[in-house]
Structures are given as C-alpha cells and as structure tokens.
C-alpha cells in the first residue's frame, strides 16, 4: 500500500507510471499565487471538469487566497473546509485509493507538500436516459425502465416505495470490473434467511468481471444445471417494487438494466405485469390462454408424433384420414420431419434475432417461401407438420418473458425425442421426469412449484385467477408484516 508522498513530482511520476500508456488520463498542474503547486488528476470524459474549473480553479487562480489567512499549512484541509463549494469532497491518503477514485470518475486534487489528496465527487459521464423497456412492454402501467446506471435505478425504486424500510445494501463484485451490486429489500417483509443466504453467496463470488446481472445469477442460483432459471430478471421498476412488497429480494447490478428478483416460482415466468393492470376477469382469460399455450409450446410436436405414428386409433377418424392423405408421399418418418422443421424454425428465429433491422424481412421471406411453400409443394414436408410447428412456435411467444420461454424450447426437443421412440408412454415418462425435477427444484428455499406444490391457499389466489387486490393477500406467509 503506497501512501501519497509529500512531493508532488513524485506523486505525478507514480500516477503516470500507473496509468501509462492510457491517453484519457489528464494531469493539470498550476500554481497558486504563492507558488504552491496544485495538480488535478482525472479521466477525460468521466468527470465534470466544468464545475471544478468554475468553482475551484477560477477562484484560486484569479482571486487568490482570501486575506487574513496565514501561509497555507494544509491546502487540502483548507480547501475542503473553507473554499471549495463542492458538495462531496473526501480525502485519500493512499495511492491505490486515489487511483480507484479517479477510475470511478472523480477528480483528485494533489498539492505540493501534502501527503494526502482531495477527491471531488464530480462523476459525470454520458448515459442512456430512462426509456420504455423494449423487451417487457405493457399496454398499461409505467413506461419507465431501468438504465445502466445503478444510482438512477435505485432512485427509480426509491420514488416508488417511499419508506425507510426499503434497504439497499451495497456489495462490490468482480476483480477487475469492481461492479457495485445492491441488495434491495423491504426490512420486515423480506425473509431474513433468504437475505442471509444471498449475502453469503454474493460474498463468495469470485469473478474477474461482472458484465451483466446474468453473471451473478449463475453464480448464486441453487441448481445451475436445471433448464429453469430460479431467478427472475426484469427491466421494469414496477415489477421490482411489487416483488419487494411481496417480500422478495432484488439485486441491482451497475452497468446493466436488468435487475434480479428472488426467490421466484415456476409461475412467475408465465405472469405478465399487465395481469395486474387489467381487469381481473379479463386476466382470467389471458392467463388461461397463456397456460394452455405454454403447454402447447413444449408438448404439441411430441403429442402429434405419438398420436399419428403410435396411436392412430386415438385420432378422430376423419382427422386421421386427412393426416394420412397429407402424408401419403412423405419421404421421411413423421418424427424426423417434425425434428427437421423444429430445427429450421429455431434456426430462422436465431437468424432473425441477430440480423440488423434492415435485413429482418429477408429472413421472413426466405423462411416463408422456402420452408412454408417450396418444401410442401415438393412433398418433402407435409402440411399438418407445418401447422403443428407454427402453432408451437407462436405458442412459445405467448410466454411474457423471453428467458422464461427458453426452457420450453429445449424441452420440445427432449419430449419429441422420447415420444418418437415410445409414443405416449415415452411422453408420459418425459412429463413425469419433468414434474419430478420441478418439484425438487428450489429457489432460495422457496419450492419452485409453489403455491401449487406444496399448496398454499393464500398465494394460489394469484395463480389461475388473479383475485382482485382487496380479496387477496399475495404476500409470502413467512414475511407477513408485524
């Protein structure tokens, strides 16, 4: 641990060596009227130099020291106490501390003959303004979304929950990125055990860098090998606020607009913020559609294959004959055909995600023409399979959160594989294994399938039917307010 030297030139040399050969570091030296040398150290573009100039430099350079003050004994002390009209000023005595402050966008002020440095908190860097979250758009409700700056995000939450019980504990994660992570919770509502385990897991993180909250998510979740994510991510401050009031815990990460919410259950992925903004009777319908579509999104290809190739007697006669007619000249077995189509569908989807906006239509044209029409006309793919795959694909989009739909896209393949081998017997086994896995899964002590298994009469009021707010008490039993 190097301390700051009394000689300015030594300090300057040390700092220059540390930052060499970065070009964005600025050293500005100037002399006061009494020949005392001062030096400002900051990173260009990260600090608001204007305020330093107008409020520190100009009075010092032009006005000089006010009368009646002796020769400077301690410039830093004097500056801090008397003359510098800046709100947030601290002193640093170690070189490492100073470097860290400069890296965060603060301005260090060094003076010849001083063994400490003043740090003016004048961080100011370009950042995105608050916009509507694009991934989780709602029809009604707040249009504000989180941004990359954590302080802004914290203020978004503070503005929604105006209560001193809203706590934000700070952690620093990442060896190089030194990312600030805030543990946000409502004291008294959040489960103390959950908080303790989150704190413990956060402190155990050993990462070089935290680029996104997903890094933290992977490090602290219970079962990393599960298909299902046990932590919810959201860009919406209203969702986070609502979750906090339900006794859940949120993690804000500097540098990403995605906040983490935990613990969550399986059903959280299938619920949208709009469910709480629209009339509850209508929400009943939308939720029903969503749940059915979710089932379709992972089961339909498997069901189609089992029905048409293993149990044709279960299909209504006319439908079965229609299917047989359409599949009369198909060169591949049904299961292979379904697999090919699913693969192509996912390929198109992946291509569409990564293409620049201008090229987006190209994929849909090629996809629609080549796969939709040519393949059917050439007799390689049969029409019912196109219907099944399109329905499956559309069904997956009814799941409100992108990341919640991902496990179902994967399950689709697994179930198709096992159904292609064993028909409904395999399908049933696949579902049983899925249920076993889900029942065993936990998110920070909360069973993943709750409130269905184990049954929780209070919280189930928000599952199939969202009861009107005055009829339900959606809070976790453990965290009931005193």
């Amino acid at each position: 641990m190097n301390t700051i030297s009394r000689r300015l030139s030594e300090n300057e040399a040390d700092l220059k060596q540390r930052f060499h050969p970065s070009s964005d570091i600025v050293f500005r030296a100037f002399a006061l009227q009494d020949r005392t040398m001062l030096m400002l150290v900051y990173l260009d573009g990260m600090a608001n130099v204007d305020s330093i100039e107008t409020q520190v430099l100009r009075p010092l350079l032009h006005g000089g020291l006010p009368d009646g003050i002796d020769r400077l004994q301690s410039l830093a002390e004097a500056l801090r106490r008397e003359w510098v009209p800046l709100a947030n000023v601290t002193t640093e005595t170690s070189m490492e501390g100073l470097v860290k402050q400069v890296l965060q966008g603060n301005v260090g002020i060094l003076a010849d003959g001083e063994a400490s440095a003043l740090v003016a908190q004048v961080q100011a860097y370009e950042q995105r303004s608050i916009q509507e979250p694009s991934k989780e758009a709602t029809l009604r409700g707040s249009k504000e979304g989180f941004v990359e700056n954590m302080r802004t995000n914290q203020s978004l939450l503070r503005r929604r929950i105006v209560h001193a019980d809203l706590k934000m504990e700070s952690f620093t994660v990442g060896k190089y990125t030194q990312t600030e992570v805030a543990l946000v919770y409502m004291q008294g509502l959040a489960d103390e055990k959950v908080l303790e385990s989150v704190r413990e897991r956060l402190q155990k993180i050993e990462l070089d860098g935290v680029i996104d909250s997903s890094y933290i998510e992977e490090w602290i979740e219970n079962s990393s090998f599960s298909l299902f994510s046990q932590i919810q991510n959201t860009e919406r401050p209203d969702i986070v606020s609502a979750s906090l009031l339900q006794g859940k815990v949120a993690l804000l990460t500097n540098g990403t607009p995605f906040a983490l919410i935990l613990p969550v259950s399986f059903w959280a992925g299938l619920q949208s913020a709009d469910d709480y903004f629209e009339r509850f009777v209508f929400v009943m319908l939308t939720r029903f559609i969503r749940y059915v579509m979710t089932f379709i999104s992972f089961a339909l290809p498997a069901i189609y294959v089992s029905l048409s190739t293993f149990h044709p007697e279960m299909v209504p006669s006319y439908l079965m004959i229609s299917i047989a007619t359409a599949r009369e000249n198909s060169p591949f077995p049904t299961v292979i055909e379904v697999f090919l189509m699913m693969f192509v569908f996912d390929g198109l989807q992946e291509a569409g995600v990564h293409l620049p906006n201008q090229l987006g239509p190209v994929v849909s044209i090629i996809g629609a023409l080549v796969i939709g029409q040519a393949a059917v006309e050439a007799g390689i793919i049969s029409t019912p399979i196109i219907i099944v795959i399109s329905l499956t694909g559309v069904a997956a989009y009814t799941i409100p959160r992108y990341s919640a739909a991902l496990p179902f896209r994967l399950l689709r393949y697994l179930l198709l594989f096992i159904s292609g081998m064993f028909g409904f017997v395999g399908f049933a086994f696949g579902l049983i294994f899925l249920l076993i896995h889900l029942v065993m899964l936990e998110s920070f002590g909360l069973p993943f399938l709750s409130p269905v298994a184990p049954l929780d009469g209070k919280r189930i009021k928000d599952l199939f039917i969202r009861y009107p707010f005055w009829m339900k008490d959606g809070r976790n039993k453990k965290g009931r307010p005193r």
């Binding site: 190739t309 044709p312 079965m320 047989a324 359409a326 599949r327 049904t334 081998m421 064993f422 028909g423």
Partner: protein, 386 residues
C-alpha cells in the same frame, strides 16, 4: 463421470434401437372404414373390408371435393371365422389393416338367418382393436359387400354416408357397443337398421343404385332376424325402444280433409310394470313435444278448443298405431323394448325362472301403449291461410 456418460449413451442408443421399429407411419396403414359380412360358400364367412385410398382422396388440406373416384377399395376373403378371413385380406395388402376407425359393419340378412350371430360377434367384444363406435346394419335383399362398393353422390366413402345418414336423422344407439350390451342383457333384444339397395335418379344421368334405410330388424337371443319392420312401423318401434331423439309425424285429420304435420322432439318412453293375475302386465308410455309445422285442414289453430282437440286426436292416433306395432313385434317374440329388463328389476324372483324363455313368454305378456304428447307450438301463423 466419463464412465457414467458412456453408460448413459449406450442405454440411449439401445433404447432407440429397440423402439424405432414400433412406430407405424400413416402411409403404412390401411384404414378400414367399413366391413361387410356375408355368407360364403361351404359355410365359410366372407369378409369384405372397405379401405380408404388416401392418395386418391383430396384431403381437407387441399380443399376437398366429394365423390372422388376410386377413393376406396373393397377387399374380400373367406375364412372359417372373422380373424382368418381378415388375415387372408392382410396377406394381399401392402399396408397394415387398421380397424379402429371403422364406421360401418354391414351384415347380410341371409348371414343372420343361417348362422348364430352370437358367435360371430365374439370378436367384436374381445378384440381391443375395435372401437365399438361403428354402426351395425343389416342388409336386406342382396349381399352386404355390394353396399360397400356403391358410390355415393355426396360422400367420398359409402360407409361414411351410412353412418351420417343415421346420425342426422336422430337415430343413435345403433353402435356395435350397443349391440354387445343388448346381446348380453337378458331382457332386451337388439334392433338393427336395415338397408336396402334402391335405384335413385340423383342427377340427369342414369339412375344409380343407392343404399337407403328400409326399416329395422328385430333379432332374438341367438341374434337371428325374427322380422323386419316396415318404414311406417319402424318409427314406432324405434321410439318405443328409446333409440330416437326426434321425428316427423303426419296424420290425416278425422274429417278426411287435409293433413296435419308435426315435428316431434324430446322423444321419451317409460315402462311401468304391474302384476295382473298370475302373469305380469306392462304399460309403455311415450312422451314428446310436438311442433305443428304444416296444417292443410280447415282448422283455425289459434283457437284453444282446436288445439286441445288436435292434441287429443294426435295422441289417440299414435296410441293406436303404436299398439299395432307392439302387437306385431310381440307376435315375432324378440323384446326390443327392454320390457323384460323392467320385470327383471321390479320382480327379480319372478324373472329368474322365466329369463331363459323370455323370447317365447314375451308373446303372451299384455303390453299396452299410452301416448302423452304435448302440443307446444302451433307455428308462426295461427289460422289457416285465407
């Protein structure tokens, strides 16, 4: 870790290797839509299967049209029992026969007359590959096989046509499942629809033969046809056996001028039993709601007096003609109405000693028919057209 992954992979490949032969693609299946059972030579059974040819069928995916030529084929074979005959058909086929989607089983009347039907239908109940929803019909005056071969002006496949024809006319409960239930019930005998081939001129070209419903056959305990009810009587018999849901009715008015036509809905019947002397008596009460749809008499139906009179007259007419049908069926012997079942429930000990002889005993039982039909509507216009 490596070892367990290897074992898992081996198991997976083993599983897929053993399972991949299990599936049958739809284009490896021959969907049987109808089966005809005829009397073959030398006491053998002749089975004919009507099989869909999907490639000739323009499915709904391409926008279907009716009456596709060659959309089905009929394959026949003879054997000592049904299974043997169908195995012979299977040997001639490139695809596996699939009977689960069958709609129609047609049996020729001669077959019923020469064979004990009970033995024949053992396979229906025993083989799980039968869906038991298929309709069982009797073909009169001809071979059942011919019915399957007839083209139908509206439907692709004749079997589908026959099935729809019964369904659309409110005749349900004629499935082979129902037949099996009736066969195993002591106090109830099967009633099967009878189809007959008839020349019908459906378009300006020559008239073509078509299968039309020609009445109902009453079968006895051994599943032999004891008699065939004519069209007019079959209406009464089907209603009284509780197998019909709606029906039209036209009766002449008592002064002989003009007719009254009704639509009868909510057809119901109720059997009441009582002791009379040392035997038992039964009363069968039919109930329905009548809607007047056509009135060519001079009656002004908006008059309450006329309405009650028409209702009364209709009941009398129905009661009278139903009683005639009842007497006719009683003369033949088979209890298609399930009156025996009512005795079974009401007087179990009396029934126990008589159930084996029910076909004979039914002839002597006194059954009266009562009619309770309500006229619920006289239609949109009240009086006769001026």
């Amino acid at each position: 870790m490596k070892r367990s992954i290897l074992i898992l992979l081996c198991l997976l490949s083993l599983m897929s290797a053993s399972a991949c032969t299990d599936f049958v693609e739809p284009n490896q299946l021959a969907f049987v839509m109808g089966t005809a059972i005829d009397q073959g030579e030398d006491g053998l059974i002749e089975i004919s299967e009507q099989i869909v040819v999907p490639s000739k069928l323009s499915g709904p995916f391409e926008g279907g049209s009716s009456g596709d030529a060659g959309s089905s084929v009929v394959m026949s074979a003879t054997g000592r029992d049904i299974f043997e005959a169908s195995e012979k058909i299977q040997k001639k086929m490139s695809r596996r026969l699939m009977t689960s989607h069958r709609i129609l089983i047609a049996v020729s009347e001669t077959f019923f007359n020469q064979n004990d039907g009970g033995k024949l239908f053992d396979k229906l109940g025993r083989d799980p590959a039968n869906n038991l929803r298929d309709i069982m019909i009797v073909v009169k005056g001809g071979r059942a096989k011919d019915i399957l071969m007839l083209p139908h002006p509206m439907e692709n496949i004749t079997s589908i046509a026959a099935g729809k024809e019964l369904q659309i006319n409110g005749l349900n409960k004629f499935s082979s499942r129902q037949l099996i239930v009736e066969h195993y019930t002591d106090g109830l005998r099967p009633l099967l629809p009878v189809l007959r081939m008839e020349k019908i001129k459906a378009d300006d070209k020559e008239s073509r033969p078509m299968a039309v419903l020609a009445g109902f056959a009453a079968l006895n305990k051994q599943l032999r046809v004891k008699g065939v009810l004519e069209e007019s009587e079959s209406f009464a018999a089907v209603w009284m056996s509780g197998k019909e849901t709606y029906q039209g009715l036209t009766i002449p008015w008592k002064d002989g001028h003009g007719m009254l036509s009704f639509r009868l809905v909510r057809l119901k019947r109720k059997i009441r039993t009582r002791s009379c002397g040392d035997s038992k008596c039964a009363e069968l009460r039919v109930k329905a709601q009548a809607y007047l749809l056509e009135n060519t008499t001079s009656l002004d139906m908006s008059q309450l007096r006329n309405m009650t009179e028409v209702e009364k007259y209709m009941n009398e007419q129905i009661q009278q003609s139903f009683q005639l049908t009842m007497d006719k069926v009683q003369r033949w012997g088979p209890d298609i109405f399930g009156i025996g079942e009512q005795f079974h429930r009401r007087y179990p000990y009396w029934w126990k000693s008589r159930r084996d002889n029910w076909d004979e005993l039914f002839k002597t039982v006194d059954v009266t028919v009562k009619s309770r039909i309500q006229l619920v509507s006289i239609g949109s216009s009240g009086g006769p057209m001026k």
